[in-house]
Amino acid sequence: MSESLSLMSRMRGRILCGTAALALGAAMPAFADESHYGGTLKLLGVSSEGTLDPMINYTARYWPLFIWTHDGLMAFKKVNGPESAEVVPDLAEDMPVLSNDGKTYTFKLRQGIKFSNGKDLTVEDVVASFQRIFKVSSPTSGSFYNGIVGADKCLAEAATCTLEGGVIGDAATNTITINLVAPDAEFLYKIAVPHASIVPADTITKDAGNEPIPGTGTYAFESYDPNASLIMVRNPHFQEWSKEAQPKGYVDRIEYTFGGTEEAAVNAILNGQADFMYEPVPTDRLAELSVSHPDQLRVSPLVAWWYAPLNVNIAPFNSLEARQAINYAVDRDALVSIFGGPALATPVCTILPPDMPGHVDRCDYTADPGEFWSAPDMDKALELVEASGTKGQKVTVVTDDSVTSRGVGTYLQTVLTDLGYDATVQSISGDIQFTYIQNTNNNVQISVTQWYQDYPAPSNFLNVLFGCDSFTPGSDSSVNMSGICDKGLDDRMKAAMALGSTDQEAALREWGDIDYDFMKLAPAIPMFTPKDVDLISARVGNYEFTSQFHWLVGTAWVQ
């Protein structure tokens, strides 16, 4: 059901020297002072990242912008901290009414909202927007929205998509009814992400590319040149209707400039020529910055994990003992140091990250099994390798070309060598590695990668990364990189997703157990939970961070 992924697959190595002290992103109180409104926020990016169509773009670079230009029926709360994981009504007036055993959602549309082109928002726009998801082949059309009645037909024949019986608008009562094939506890999350943005009904039904699509948010895109800049200005027709869902932005204008290097971006921010850089701060500058400009660094927790998928279908990791052995042998503390030390990462033993609902602190693969990882158990690991009969086999660790990924890969190589394997590391370009390690034709045995939540539901990690539906041999899009398909666990995951719509508590407990049972099969090595580090200019105030969309650019001020 809910697969998909990784908005936040920003393969971002974030290293910090040793124990350098960093200022933790303390939330400043957000008091509405009129004098803060105005000014221009300047963002920097080494490169742009694709289309400006909110239904198609699936990048961590633009999602945090789309939430300020477009709205869905629901939205994630635009507030600092854990509360930002809650969904609230956005273009819908209220939370939807559920009926038909949780398969029917009825939304009442807010009235008086206008798009940035001046047109009124109507139920017709909402219906057309849901159809458009399929007509433009949105990357998540087959994973987030395939549970809507009529979606199967739309997936087969996009051009004539009507979602008949699935999304029904009633102009007279100003309501929208959405029928699902089966109850889906995550549905409201799925319609709160940018792919379910509501756009005018007459929007072109193919990728709009660089042409901005009118939205209802506090800002509107003014121009976009992927080789130069992206400009956002105030939406002239915006009137704040919900501070939680779509607050009025502080700055008048946001300029996102593309080009240059990370080094240059750091200098520009320190010189006050720019306010924020999207790319991670170069590792060699972080240590220096944590001493010279600690006030400008913000460290925030992420719901993500760095992990090493183990291919369960080819030697040597088709042996359960071999997979368990490497899990016992890996020193998570060493990996944390590679990433930048305890200030920037925490060792993990489970698939669900600590801040993800359903996560339970449990760790078997450690010297002293219990709640947390403590130290590697090399003796046990060596025993298991011996028992697996895989000793001496050749193993290649596939990493991307970032410093951190290579560092982790080299570390895994030493562990594998200590275990008696003939290990090598292969580094490939970060832009290719993520698809390369998915395709079974490339026979990747073990790789280093990371996953960031799309929305705060356990299935977003467990079912997406280890579900049978996510495994397609021979395809570049097969995100179950371990290639594991355990019928029993897969059925339990499907049941847990269904259970979630009636009994959330019980479902979360079950997800915790599924996590534990998956780790018994060891389809991957959980390594650590990373933290996000942002460098901002001295003039930026009211920095707020959400695990869903990272820095909230709209609630920051520059004066």
Partner: protein
């Protein structure tokens, strides 16, 4: 004359055709490059990938895809990028070209002037201090990679001494079109020009010095001296004119290659979004249409620059006209 031009044009078409076919084939032989999967997005459902494959014509035979791409690139000129789907390739390359041209032309003027001055001075003072100092500096210039020099320049002008009187006039990195603000254009280009020119001044200076010294051994120089010409006249009018031919040929090649995108390191370091950076970004994200366009653009400039150089040589050296 017309025959010669036609011959050259034909040769250019053949070269560009070969390059385009090689580019196309290498792309499809790269693992993990399935354009449909990349366009569809991360973890797209298989149905979505198939829909995209059909939509973009990626399910058709390779030679058909190649033909369509060439048609869209040269005839309808509406080829769009795989990575930035709404981005039209031809206008994007055309928009990036002025930035690269500004950078390379300005640097070219500097390095030709600097190189010639260095070469002549060193040759005139051969074996003495000015020669030794100039050759030492030019050896350093050749040895230092341009991206390192660029980063060092940035470190000084944008970071360490940015707020001092010496460099506070240096604007933030990036390119401002000449038409928008000539003053800012000039100020933002000064250090990129110097950085890019530095290497070539060293290279050209050394080459010219060697060339002049070699030419001094020729009979016509002895004749010129026997005629009683002054040392300066011999050096500038006879030796340099002859020794500069290889420099001009090399200049043509370098200029063509740089305008075509080889100035990528300088562009990236100084945040100038020119053709080189465009090529680099396209390669990074495996954007075949953009790779194709920029590679063909680069090869076009190399071929054209070569033709121009041939003409220039005829002008400089009368002996070549006879051949």
């Amino acid at each position: 004359m017309i025959a010669a031009i036609l011959k050259r044009l034909l040769r250019m078409v053949v070269v560009m055709f070969g390059i385009s076919v090689i580019t196309f084939l290498i792309f499809f032989a790269t693992p993990a490059s399935d354009p449909a999967a990349r366009i569809a997005g991360r973890n797209a459902a298989q149905e979505t990938i198939e829909a995209v494959r059909k939509d973009f014509g990626l399910d058709r035979p390779l030679y058909v895809q190649y033909g369509l791409m060439m048609e869209k690139l040269f005839i309808t000129r509406d080829l769009t990028s795989f990575a930035n789907r709404g981005q039209q390739i031809v206008p994007t390359v055309m928009a990036a070209a002025p930035a690269t041209l500004s950078l390379v032309s300005g640097a070219a003027i500097l390095w030709m002037l600097g190189g010639i001055l260095t070469g002549i001075t060193a040759a005139a003072f051969r074996g003495r201090w000015p020669d030794k100092i100039l050759m030492g500096i030019s050896m350093m210039a050749v040895a230092m990679p341009v991206f390192w020099v660029g980063e060092m320049v940035n470190l000084v002008t944008q970071n360490r001494l940015h707020d001092t009187w010496a460099f506070s006039w240096v604007p933030a990195l990036g390119y401002t079109p000449f038409s928008q603000d000539p003053g800012l254009w000039f100020r933002s280009m000064v250090f990129p020009w110097l950085t890019l020119a530095f290497l070539y001044i060293g290279l050209y200076g050394r080459m010219l010095r060697t060339g002049i010294i070699e030419t001094y051994q020729e009979d016509f120089i002895r004749t010129a001296r026997a005629k009683g010409l002054t040392g300066r006249k011999v050096l500038l009018k006879h030796a340099t004119r002859s020794a500069i031919i290889p420099i001009v040929i090399m200049f043509g090649m370098d200029f063509g290659v740089l305008v075509g995108g080889a100035a990528v390191l300088t562009e990236v370091v100084f945040g100038i979004n020119g053709v080189g950076r465009l090529t680099y970004q396209a390669l990074k994200v495996l954007d075949l249409p953009m790779i194709m366009a920029t590679v063909l653009y680069a090869s076009f400039f190399v071929v054209v620059a070569n033709a121009v150089v041939d003409l220039l040589c005829l002008l400089i050296d009368p002996r070549m006209r006879r051949a």
